[in-house]
Symmetry: C2
Subunit: 285 residues, 2 copies
C-alpha cells in the first residue's frame, strides 16, 4: 500500500486567488521558505492499476497530471477506480465534475454527504453507500478490485449530522497497513489514529482567531468546524499520545504559519514528531 | 481595451487527464512542438481595475494566479467584476464555484443558460440577464463600472434554444474597440466578425470525425455542436472573407492537429491569416 498527497491546502489553495495575506504575498514574491499547494486530496493504492481517491478537489486535473502513476495507459483510460468523499464541501467534491470525460466512476459517500451536496448532480457516477463504523471493500465502477477497504467514522463539526463529515480509515487487503485520513475535524482524541500506520489530520488553522487577526474574515477556526493545531486545546496537544507511527497535517489553509519553513510554528510541529504535507508527498505506511 | 486568453483548450484541457491520444502522449514525452493549455476562458479589460471574464473554467484559480493583472491588490480583493457565460457547459461554468471565497460576483447570462445549467447553484452570485441582440453595459456586483458593454447573439448548436449557446461582442466604452468571442459555434458566416477588431472563434476540432478516427469517442464534431476548422465546409473556408482585423482560434481540443507547431494543419491556418490561441496570449485590439 502506498499513498500520495495530491493536494495539501485547504479550500482556495495556496496562494488563494483573492488573498494577499502575509503567506500568499510572500509566496508570490518568491519567498523560498514557502511552497505553493493545491487543494486537499489523497490517492491511495494497494495495486498501481487501481487508485482510490479520498476527495476530489477542483485542482484534480493538474494533480493527476503531476502524478505519473495516475496518468492514462491507453488511448482513453484512467487507473482511478473509486472516490471516497469525506464531506460535501465544494473543495472536496467539485473535482468529480472535472472527471466527466470518463465512464462512470464509483463514488463512496455517506447518505447525507450524497444527499446534502451531490444529489443535484446526477449521471457520470455509480454511487455506493458508506455506512458509519463498518469496513467496506472498495471496487471500481464495474466491480474491479482495489484491494482496499474503508471504514468511515463520524467527525461532527460545523454541520449537525454524524454522517455530514467523516474521517476514513483505509486498510490494505494485502498487507493490513492502515491510513487514517481526517481533513476536517472539530475535536481530537488519540484513539483516532492509535491503530493506524499513518494519520493525516486537519491542519487547516494554527490558531482559532487566525482569519480574524489577519483581516481575512470574521469566522474562527471552530466556527468553521476546524480544531486549530496550536495552543493548550489544539490538536498538537490533544494528539500528543496518539500511537500512529507517522502523523501528518494536511488541508492547510493559506493563512497558517506552519506553511513557512523555519517559522516558530513549523519548528514546534516538527519537534512534536509531525510533518506538514506538501503536494506530491509519497507515503509508504 | 485589452484581453488575455486565460485558457485556450476545449473541455478537459490539454493534456486531458484520461487521454493518451498522439497529441497528449507527445506532450507528456516533452515534445517541444506542443504546449499545454488550460480550459477556455478570456479576460477583457477596459480598465485594469475592472476585469470582465468570458466564461469561468475549472482551471480558473491557476489562470488567475498566472496573470499578474488578475491578482489581489489588498488583503482580500479581486479585480474581477463580472463574468459573462456563453453557455452552460461545465467547462465554462464550474470555475464560478472556485471563486466562492469572494463577495458575490456579477454574472451575466441568458435566461436559458442560467436556468438550464446554474439555477441549481444559488448564492454567491448577482445574476443579471443577457438578452439577445442588445448591448448591455457591464457593472460589478455593487455597480462598479467596467467600461465594457456586451451584445450576445444566438449560436444554435447541439442544444435547441437560441439562448442556449451564444457568442458575445464586447465593446470598449472608451475606444470603441470590439472583440467577438464565440468558443462554440456550429456554423459560420463572415458577418460574425465583420465589424470586430478581433474575432476569437471555435477551434475545437480540425475535422468532423477526429474523435472517432483517433479512437477517442464516437461523436462527431457536428454531433457536439462544433463546426470543424478544416475542409470545404469548415470555418477556415467559411470565414475566409470575414473582415475582422485579427482572427484567432480558441477552445482547441486536445486531439486537434493544429496544436502541433509546424503540422500541415497549423501551417494552413497560419497561411490563412489565423492564429491559434495559447494560454496567456495578450490581445491588443
Amino acid at each position: 500500500m502506498h499513498a500520495r498527497v495530491l493536494g495539501s491546502a485547504a479550500g482556495g489553495g495556496f496562494p488563494q486567488w483573492n488573498c494577499a495575506c502575509p503567506n500568499c504575498s510572500a509566496l508570490r514574491r518568491g519567498d523560498r521558505r514557502l511552497a505553493a499547494r493545491t487543494q486537499d486530496s489523497l490517492a491511495v493504492f494497494a495495486r498501481d492499476d487501481a487508485a482510490v481517491l479520498c476527495n476530489a478537489s477542483p485542482d484534480i486535473a493538474r494533480q493527476i497530471e503531476a502524478a505519473t502513476v495516475l496518468r492514462p495507459r491507453a488511448r482513453r483510460h484512467t487507473p482511478i477506480h473509486a472516490i471516497v468523499l469525506t464531506n460535501g464541501d465544494l473543495d472536496h467534491v467539485l473535482g468529480v465534475f472535472s472527471l466527466r470525460e470518463a465512464p462512470p466512476l464509483a463514488i463512496y459517500a455517506t447518505a447525507s454527504v450524497k444527499t446534502a451536496s451531490l444529489a443535484r448532480f446526477t449521471g457520470q457516477a455509480v454511487w455506493r453507500d458508506l455506512a458509519l463504523d463498518r469496513d467496506v471493500e472498495l471496487f471500481g465502477p464495474a466491480g474491479e478490485p482495489t484491494d482496499i477497504s474503508v471504514r468511515a467514522f463520524a467527525l461532527p463539526g460545523r454541520t449537525p449530522g454524524p454522517e455530514d463529515n467523516v474521517g476514513v480509515r483505509l486498510t490494505c487487503g494485502r498487507t493490513g497497513k492502515r491510513i487514517v485520513y481526517a481533513p476536517r475535524a472539530s475535536y481530537a482524541t488519540p484513539e483516532i489514529g492509535d491503530d493506524a500506520d499513518v494519520l493525516l489530520f486537519d491542519g487547516t488553522f494554527w490558531s482559532n482567531d487566525e482569519l480574524v487577526r489577519l483581516g481575512c474574515g470574521t469566522a474562527t477556526a471552530r466556527d468553521l468546524g476546524h480544531l486549530p493545531i496550536g495552543g493548550r486545546e489544539g490538536s498538537l496537544a490533544l494528539l500528543a499520545t496518539c500511537r500512529a507511527r507517522r502523523k501528518i497535517y494536511t488541508h492547510v489553509n493559506n493563512t497558517n504559519p506552519v506553511l513557512r519553513y523555519e517559522s516558530r510554528e513549523q519548528i514546534e510541529v516538527e519537534r512534536a514528531g509531525w510533518d506538514v504535507a506538501e503536494d506530491g508527498l509519497e507515503i509508504l505506511p
